[in-house]
């Protein structure tokens, strides 16, 4: 994937996720130079085995997290459309987590700031590894005027839907 100049979005096809967590590995290696799943900006949830999916920022069209920040630590990258966290300003109050319809941001495990996908300055590493292995759960596309907010969903909600799709009715007893 070549480096895009216009804002981008990561298209996602959750039910194809193998649960390999290569996206977490790539993300944390890029941002922390360590394999550090809990510091990764993309996290693969597997609340029920077989129903794995990557959970990461959907860059809602109205950016409720940015609006909720009491100290203006969050901003929107003009180049990529990503939510950028100013680590020094962030007070780790968690208001952005509550404002996010999918409760997607989480606290950095060691430092005092929230973790939100920064789209790797326009060349997302998670997409790269997902495509290298041809799982193709993730794909970089130009950002359009779409209802991205639909993708900002809580892990339990996504799990419930995947259970219906993959397991059918029987999946309910494992939720």
């Amino acid at each position: 994937m070549t480096r895009k100049k216009e804002p981008i979005w990561i298209a996602r096809e959750l039910s194809r996720c193998s649960g390999c967590r290569k996206c977490e590995i790539a993300c944390s290696l890029f941002h922390e130079n360590r394999i550090w799943p809990d510091a990764s900006m993309i996290r693969v949830f597997m609340l029920v085995p077989g129903l794995e999916f990557p959970h990461f920022c959907a860059q809602c069209e109205d950016y409720p997290c940015v609006k909720s920040c009491p100290v203006d630590a969050l901003s929107i990258s003009k180049r990529t459309g990503a939510v950028l966290v100013d680590k020094k300003t962030c007070i780790a109050c968690g208001k952005c987590i509550d404002a996010c319809p999918g409760r997607i941001p989480h606290m950095h495990p060691r430092e005092k700031h929230v973790v939100i996908c920064d789209l790797c300055h326009g060349n997302p590493q998670c997409v790269k590894v997902c495509q290298e292995g041809s799982w193709n759960v993730l794909r970089t596309v130009p950002r359009k005027d779409s209802a991205y907010k639909l993708y900002a969903r809580k892990p339990e909600e996504i799990t419930r839907d995947l259970a219906a799709k993959i397991y059918g009715k029987i999946g309910e007893e494992y939720l």
Binding site: G19, C20, L29, M46, H55, H106, R110, P155
Partner: protein, 622 residues
Amino acid sequence: MILGYAGKFLDIDLSTQSIKETGFSDEVLKDYVGGRGLAAKILWDRLGSRWETVDPLGPENILLLLTGPLTGYFPGGRTCVSGKSPQSNGVVGSTLSGEFGVELRCAGYDGVIVTGKAEKPVYLFIKDSDVELRDASGVWGKDGKQTVAVLTKECRELLQTRYPRYGEWKEPAMVYVGPAGENRVRTAVVGSKWAHAAGYGGYGAVMGAKRLKAVVAKGTGPLPEVADIEKVKRLIKKVCENVYEGEMWRRWGTGAAGYEVGAKTSSEPIRNWQEEWHDEKSFGVDKFENRVWMKQYWGDFGCPTTCLKLSVIKDGKFKGAITDNPDYEMQAYLGPNLGIFTPEENVFLVSLIDDLGLCGIQTGNVMGFAAELFQEDILTREDLDGVELKWGDAEAFAALAKKIAFRKGIGDVLAEGTYRAALKIGKMKNMDLLPYAVQSKGISIGAHGIRSGKDYPEIISYACSVQGGDHTSTASLPLDGGGSELMEIFNDSGVYCNFNSFAVSRNVRFDFYEAVTGLELTREDWCFTKALKVLQLQRAMLLLGGPDLKWDPKVHDDNPPRFYKPLPSGPYKGKAADKDAVEEYKKRYYEAVGWDKNGIPTSEILRELGLRDVDKALEKVR
């Protein structure tokens, strides 16, 4: 401290509920690495002097859950489970995939050492350095899938309550036992993620006997620091790129083999190994792929292969069955070995075996053994508590599996595993039933036969392995060759999935070790010094055995009698293992690994390897 390790181990005594941290010297870690190697060392040091008297299902046994320095780095993370085996009375390094090993290392621990026995059912909950024993009475008796559901919910709620501002907690990872482990069934597994299992060794019974239902881990730290992260990144890429070239292996995993190993190499167990050939296209991987796989690729931490597939039966008689692939071993042992040749029946049985916490290989083997005794009118319908154990009847085998897991009726005898069951039923019937038992030193033989000579195991693979019938740890020469047990010891000690190492040169694993730890390790040094030492420790504990059984190499370093009977069908009809050839190969193998003509490690080799105390202990069996 050596890089690549978290540097700490948890040392838990369930009898006194004490939770301590412990560690090992750099020298020990350099020599034994982790996982299986370290397990052999810990068990020898702590139990070696009284090995023969240690009851594997007693509180004195030690349950080990160990990672290695490569866990999480080498693509495809695993965890090694060990202890004194209730199957072989020796030591088995039994690995299972899943997220547990990675979570544990991120929590700051390389392993968990469990002794004693809890008064009431408990589970261990590890959140970084906060470690606690919690009441498991709510999940005791629950099957695998339910256990995962309840404990995932409970532990996530705990985390949300304790860290309300963190955000959404991902599920912690866990290993657990099902009802079979609770009931001390010798073919019980330590499981994870519904369908993964450490089967060989029977450590589910050890965990259950300790009343330890599960170990749950959530680690928020990074994987331990490595010596050369850039080199590690390059090696990960190298392993993955090689894997990506193998389209069929990724697409089908071992799932193609349920048909192929029967039809092509003629080495698949069929009706308790009465045959090893079938050409049943009804069991072709295409039928699995299109009829039951709801997910084409399913895998664990960092895995490029994702050879697992998610199988779901959505309607019909077996509605509600969910499992992985099934992988080849499960296909074979809970398929053709029981006379079953459809994906749906196979998935149904594998799902049930997962839920009960049984090992599909060991249990499929003992059920095949029972079915052949029924075929021969040795076991009657009455003996089987009314079960008509006919080949191909999936529901009859399901009924029997439940009896085994709960030790009901005949299940109580079969729960002892094939070897012990053969002795017990033999005594009952006043017959020698060992010719029907396809096992080696208490461990059922993996679903790869040796008679056709076309599969990978060799004629001494199982006879001379320190892990008996374990098809993932087989003996062969040369000692530094790809199929050598010494190379398998590296996979199980570095603790990663060897399926991802097939496509790259054998030395890549040693490059990986060096990039992670900063220590140089050559194949020669590994095979002829370090791994050989682990092998001698395992051999010594296997031969000391006890308390209920002991192995005599002159008798037990051999193939099951069935492998000397000519194959009755297929392209290799008439072929069998040749006794003289076995003896000749055995002699060469003994010499190569430093065992005397009776199969006992010589004083010379033990002293050379610095194992004087082992030498002394073996005087008893010389």
